[in-house]
């Protein structure tokens, strides 16, 4: 153990920096999370399981994680597109669009929820034509996905944008001069470069969506078994002074989130380690 520490400490201030990091993470993240687990442990295993696996809770996990995944996937595709447009093209109002991307960050989530509900409600601007087509947007799982897409928008854009800005145009030109088609240039040269950043953005958008409460409760309709998200179920339990029951569900969410975030992070690591070899690889493959 000491060996590893010594080996890595060739930069000065390692002990101090690590100490602060551990303290900071403990205070901000670990201690509150530990308290959650501690509170949940006041339940017996049977009680815990009964609460955590009740049909209503399971339906809410399905909705929360499903809609979050849908929202993050939409953001993965369109976030890369938005970043591409913002970096590669110049057009009037570009600055404005660029700052618009951050708006979902800055807006209080309740405001976002009310605004989205007003628009997608059956009497709203978008809700009315959708309803005429037989599509129920607000007060349905679709509404939940819409809200989660909205709040997750900045993550992929903001993580992909700097990578694209740093990317040498020469790489693409080289690929083209070596006879690569446009699709090959994109899939073999551009994509591998931005993939780690895009995945990181995807993971953040997903994590953010799983925990989202404020905007969703307005648009979802909150029907048990149908459009009730897990954070609402937790609030419902708290409102009945059932602190232990609420933490039981919270623990399930935490574990699920960890299980889902871990592979995403590994994937991101793997693709960024691949990235270093890309120019050589790509040139090889194209030839």
């Amino acid at each position: 153990m000491t060996f590893i520490f010594k080996k890595r400490s060739n930069l000065p201030g390692f002990g101090l920096a690590l100490g602060y990091t551990v303290l900071y993470l403990s205070l901000i993240v670990l201690i509150p999370l530990a308290a959650t687990f501690l509170k949940a442990s006041s339940l017996s295993w049977d009680q815990f399981w009964h609460i955590a696996s009740s049909p209503r809770a399971v339906a809410s996990y399905r909705l929360t994680f499903g809609a979050s995944l849908v929202g993050a996937l939409i953001n993965l595709v369109f976030g890369v597109l938005v970043a591409w447009v913002l970096v590669r093209y110049t057009f009037p109002g570009k600055r404005l669009f660029d700052s618009l991307v951050d708006l979902p960050f800055a807006l209080p989530t309740a405001v976002a929820g009310i605004a989205l509900t007003t628009i997608y409600a059956p009497n709203g601007w978008l809700g009315r034509p959708l309803a005429a087509l037989g599509i129920k947007s607000a007060y349905s799982p679709l509404g939940v996905a819409i809200a989660l897409t909205f709040i997750g928008l900045p993550f992929v854009v903001r993580s992909v944008q700097p990578v694209l800005e740093d990317m040498d145009k020469e790489l693409e030109e080289a690929a083209a001069s070596l006879g690569a088609s446009r699709w090959q240039t994109f899939s073999r040269v551009v994509m591998p470069t931005i993939l780690p950043a895009a995945l990181a953005g995807f993971a953040m958008a997903f994590a953010r969506a799983v925990g989202e409460y404020g905007s969703v409760v307005f648009i979802s309709g909150n029907m048990p078994m149908k459009t009730e998200i897990t954070p609402l179920l937790i609030i419902t339990k708290l409102d009945q002074y059932d602190y232990a029951g609420a933490t039981a569900i919270a623990v399930v969410m935490l574990v699920f989130s960890l299980i889902l975030l871990l592979p995403i992070n590994l994937l991101q690591k793997w693709s960024s380690s691949r990235e270093e070899k890309i120019p050589a690889l790509a040139a090889e493959e194209i030839q």
């Binding site: 909150n222 029907m223 059932d242």
Partner: protein, 341 residues
Amino acid sequence: MRNTVLAGLGLLLAGLMVAFSIQSRAQGGEVSLLNVSYDPTRELYQDFNQAFAKYWKAKTGQTVTIEQSHGGSSKQARAVIDGLQADIVTLALAYDIDAISQNAGLLPADWQKRLPQNSTPYTSTIVFLVRKGNPKHIKDWDDLVKPGISVITPNPKTSGGARWNYLAAWAYALKQPGGNEQAAQDFVKRLYKNVPVLDSGARGSTTTFVQREIGDVLIAWENEAFLSIKELGPDKVEIVVPSQSILAEPPVAIVDKVVDKKGTRAVAQAYLEYLYTPEGQEIAAKNYYRPRLESVAKKYASTFPDIKLVTIDEVFGGWQKAQKTHFADGGVFDQIYQPNQ
């Protein structure tokens, strides 16, 4: 040695000064109260606080500032349990104040016996709000369970008002010829099958009904219904009074541990008692709460129609029991939404 004595004396002096300043703040020229209340009382306490400040100034010469906090009733109770320094709580139902007593011990269990009439200076009831002209001909509770009627009411698990709605419907079904527990359970089940959106609070449901134009009927506090009409104009919605409803008693209480710590017991007590005076009752009635005082009630008789009202004690055996049977996890309300039933 001398230094220690000096330091000790200094500390004592500082302590005395702090004690004195707290004392003088409580008994001198100024005092502040925090009233933690639920959602629809905003307008009521805005008016009442002004009147009380004037009254208290004239009586004692003391300037009282009253801070207000509003939100969902059980959320507010939880804030007090978690340490919000409320001198006074004025919540939607007795169960929430019971919870403060049980979970934090901030006031004694028999708090509701300390003020007249179940510690409820004003009451309300549950009525229907329908679209102008009542296009679906909704007259009474049994119209709400008909197929094709869309009913808006908040979630009883998160909203105090919604619990009154639910219990009013239950009590109606129980009092019908041949009514029993099973019939009542079927009745509320059919009613909630007609609910397309369950908001988390009473104001949220009002918004859904009024702004989003969803639903044919909103089950609402009488005072909320009056407020909606006042704000929207009588050409949009109208009130329908059912044949029977429930006497909704939103109680008030002093939080003993807090007022004793802050030294505000006298003014807090006076604040609550002022609610029972003709002036306080008048303000309640103007804000569409039903006054308790006979003389004021008579004056506003034209505003508040006569409804046959049942109480929670006579039909449900009090809040503790009603909460446990109907709204606790796995209770009757949860069973409505269990699949395959």
